[in-house]
């Protein structure tokens, strides 16, 4: 058993999440905010009643300090969760060193926590959803994330069970196919929402969604690379059976 402390990895994970969150914040501000502003412009041009009398938080604060709070807290929180998942995955998902484990985990996180739910319930800019359905949309969004993560874990277990019989390659193909099939079934049976107003500019919607994907891509990639580096440095000197001549555990998947 590895005696490296969970606390030290958790701290590094939250730190890596914070730094990756800073990079994601730049993407959110420079790529995302223009389409958020365009959506709010559309909203104000179309609102018939004047409910903008008392604005609790102004647009300038929302798009800077408010945005930063949201993205950075999100980065730290997922950094911590991913670090805990890393502690479980390390040495248990095959012969991968710390850096490769972190990279695989981040890729899996991006896909199951964000991309798979996004394809069913994509990110929406302001003024494109019905406020009356917020409860159902939120519940279904979180349900889709939970389902996607659980199906991802199930696919890993399935792949490992099949590996002795099919070999690693075909076991992986079968596990991915089973995952895609199960996700497809979930997509087919969960309700969809078609609430974007007919005259909402399609290019704004497209740019907004691309930016939302870019935010997550940068966040998870940045986290994977940085946390992998930190974990490698933390774990390499004490990784039990490492040949001193080779030093660092080198595994490139």
């Amino acid at each position: 058993m590895n005696t490296v402390s969970v606390r030290s990895l958790l701290v590094r994970g939250m730190l890596a999440g914070l730094v990756a969150g800073c990079a994601a914040l730049l993407v959110a501000y420079f790529l995302g905010e223009p389409s958020v502003d365009a959506s709010i412009g559309y909203e104000e041009a179309h609102s018939h009643h004047d409910d903008h009398g008392v604005e609790l938080v102004g647009r300038t604060l929302q798009s800077t300090a408010g945005l930063a709070t949201g993205v950075l807290v999100y980065g730290v929180a997922f950094g911590g969760i991913a670090a805990l998942a890393f502690c479980v995955a390390l040495g248990r998902i095959g012969r991968f060193g710390p850096r490769a484990t972190a990279a695989l985990l981040s890729l899996g996180g991006l896909l199951t926590v964000y991309v798979v739910p996004f394809l069913k319930y994509p990110a929406n800019p302001p003024a494109t959803s019905d406020p009356d359905t917020i409860g159902q949309r939120t519940a279904l969004f979180f349900l889709m994330i939970a389902l996607s993560v659980l199906l991802g874990l199930a696919a890993i277990i399935l792949g490992r069970r099949l590996a002795p019989r099919l070999g690693a390659w075909w076991a992986t193909v079968a596990a991915v196919a089973a995952f895609v099939l199960a996700v497809g079934l979930a997509y087919a049976f969960l309700p969809s929402y078609d609430e974007v107003p007919k005259d909402f500019p399609a290019s704004v919607l497209w740019r907004f969604r691309l930016s939302a994907l870019a935010v997550q891509g940068v966040l998870w990639t940045g986290f994977g690379l940085l946390f992998g580096h930190l974990a490698e440095r933390r774990l390499a000197p004490r990784a039990g059976s490492v040949d001193p001549a080779r030093g660092v555990v080198e595994t490139t998947p």
Binding site: V6, G66, V73, R95, A123, V249
Partner: protein, 74 residues
């Protein structure tokens, strides 16, 4: 993935990293796992679908992040 296929078919074994015992992970996972989920809840859903705190200030403050991080909003 091709590399993992190669390693199971007997190519020079890479040094294996010892796993961390689940008993050592469990207390951290329970306490910090819940804490992190609470943080995500406040960024993603508080004063939207459900409200623990009255008012709109949390929602208004993290509003742009909520949209750009993909959480359902308005």
């Amino acid at each position: 993935m091709a590399h993992s296929a190669a390693s199971t078919t007997g190519s020079p074994a890479l040094p294996e990293v010892a796993p961390i015992s689940l008993k050592a992970i469990a207390p951290w996972a329970v306490f910090f796992g819940v804490l992190m989920l609470v943080l995500l809840y406040f960024v993603g859903a508080e004063q939207g679908a459900t409200s623990l705190l009255s008012g709109e200030s949390v929602h208004e403050w993290v509003h742009d992040g909520r949209h750009l991080l993909g959480f359902p909003c308005h």
